[in-house]
Structures are given as C-alpha cells and as structure tokens.
Symmetry: C2
Amino acid sequence: MTEQASAEIEQILGFIVEIEKLKAVIRKTRPVGLDRYENSAEHSWHVCLAALMLKDYADEAVDIDRVIRMLLIHDLGEIDAGDKIIYQSETEQQKAREAAGVKRLLELLPGDRGEVWFALWQEFERGDSADARFARAIDRVPPLLHNLHGGGHSWREHGISKTRVLDVNSRIGAGSSALWAVMREKLLAAAEDGTLP
Amino acid sequence: MTEQASAEIEQILGFIVEIEKLKAVIRKTRPVGLDRYENSAEHSWHVCLAALMLKDYADEAVDIDRVIRMLLIHDLGEIDAGDKIIYQSETEQQKAREAAGVKRLLELLPGDRGEVWFALWQEFERGDSADARFARAIDRVPPLLHNLHGGGHSWREHGISKTRVLDVNSRIGAGSSALWAVMREKLLAAAEDGTLP
C-alpha cells in the first residue's frame, strides 16, 4: 500500500465518523410501531430501499443507482442545519445552511472527490432531472406512511392542513404518477376518517 | 394506471412499512458521540455510504452498486432473528433464523420479485464473490470505529479479546488489503494504549 492510499483512507474514515452525526438528527415523524421519533440516518436507509422496490413505477427512465446515491446523501446537510418539517423547510435560508453543511462534510474527503457528490446533492435539491424527481417522490412516502399508520401525529403536532399535505406531496406525482395515485387515495381516505385533519 | 400496478404498489408499501422494524433492532455498539446503542437501519445507511467512499480501495474489481444493494438488505434477517454481536453470531442456527426472516419479508413483494434479493442476500452471507467480500469488509468498519473512538466499550461489555478482534476482522483484508492495513494499525495501537483489552 502506498502512503498516499493510507492517508486517503484515514481521511475517508474521518468522514465516515463525522457523518455519523446524522444519527442524532431527529425528524418529525415516528416510524410505524415505535414511540420515538425517527432520525435522518435510518430514514436515509429506508428511502433507498423504498426507491429500489418502487423503481418500476417511475414515470421517466431513471438510473436507480444514481437515485440511491442521491438518497444516501440527501439529508447530510441536516447535520449542521438540523431537520425542519417539509412544510416549513423549503426556505432559502434553510437551504443555504444545508448547502454549507454538505460542503463542509464533503471537504473532509481527499482532494476534490467531494465535488461530484455536491453536484449530485444540488441536483436532488433542484429536482430538475428524472432521477431527482423520482428521488424526491420517494423521499415523501415514508413520512406519509408514518402519519397514515400513526393517527396523523405529525400533521396534528404541526397543524398541517389537508390542503397543504395534498399540495406539498403532489410532487410524488412528478416522479411517479402511479405511486401518487395510490398515496393520494390514502390521504383522501385519511381526510375522510379524520386521520388527516 | 392499471389495477395491477396499483395492487403491486400497495404490496410494496406493505413491505416498506414492515422493514421499518429494522429501526427497532438494537446493535452492540454506540455511534461515536452518542450515548445510545445503534440500530440496524441507521447502520445499514452508514455502511452504504462508507462503501461508496472507500470503493477505490477494493482489491478486486467490484460493482459498487451491487455492493450497495447488498448492504441495504444485509441486515433484514435481524428483524425476525435479532442482532447478535459478530463474535457470537456466525452460528448455523442464527444464520438459519435470519434466512427465514429475510424470506418472510421478501415474500411480501409482488410475484417472485423477492427471489433476486434473496439470492443477493445469500451471496453476501456466503462472502464468495468480489462484491460480497468487499461488502463484508465494509460492514466491519463502523463497529470498529465505534469501539476505537468509544473506549472499546463493546469489546469490554462482551469480553472480546484482542486476538479475537484481530482474527474476526481480518476479513476486512479479504475485501481491501489497504483498508485492513489501516484498521489493523489502529487496532494494534488500541491494544497498546489499553482501549482494546
């Protein structure tokens, strides 16, 4: 092994330890069957596997491995910026904080290796490619399932109306109209039975 | 959307909710900086990103996207079988329980779609391909880092000796000799300073 490889591996191990902080970022919904709130690291795993299993229902051709890479890194910005509920998070200030946070983390990697990951993170944020549209669609599914199976707890705690839930989550339809049709049905049924206030 | 697609999506959503139980499977090490023990879902995310960043140091040519898919599903068997520390887990009984658990989960997917994932899970378990060797190498890294940065807490709690730690983790070298050289150095230094008993 060259000394350079060894030094690079040391740097990457530093990155691996640093991103572990995502396990301490607490989200706004509880996983089905758990009393505690979810953290952003386990959420990231969950959406990767959800994307993989739902890939056949993407409206456009997607590169599922790129989608998974996006989803693996999509929440890294929260280590420095914290998690905000989606209904309040899409402000310029929050997004700028997250971008700075992702940049800081990726600069821990050797040389300019972080650059390609930062570009991928930005693509996810912009949502202007087929891969990003599908990744962003999938990212919305578990929190909706948590609410649907959990008495709408997060909607209630944050005072989110049916109109807002349907509006914000309609982005699922930009990635997969079939998935949005199924989720929309569930949301309408939840509005009917009072789970969605 | 066809009725079939809608029914398939419903089945997959059932799978997505069911695998959420991995967030409740508690492992034997604490993430760096956290007081609580790690769960297997956040661990699964962590190893995927570790594999991605360390891919250039694999000894053999690997398909990193296959490695990531393996790592996304590698712990699903623990939902039914529970987590065992590696120094005690590689028994036939535990492995049979895990295989049955993975099978049960994958059968929630539509048609025979689970079969390809079960084969991938088995390949990881056997460790007899370049992809599996690298995935298994990466799987060992975070728990070692947790111990190295956390006073050897898990080694102490379970009475694991230096010889056993070096022996079991030498599998890292089967996937990446450069990575094992770095990790082995760290373990030897930890034995020197008393972190590794």
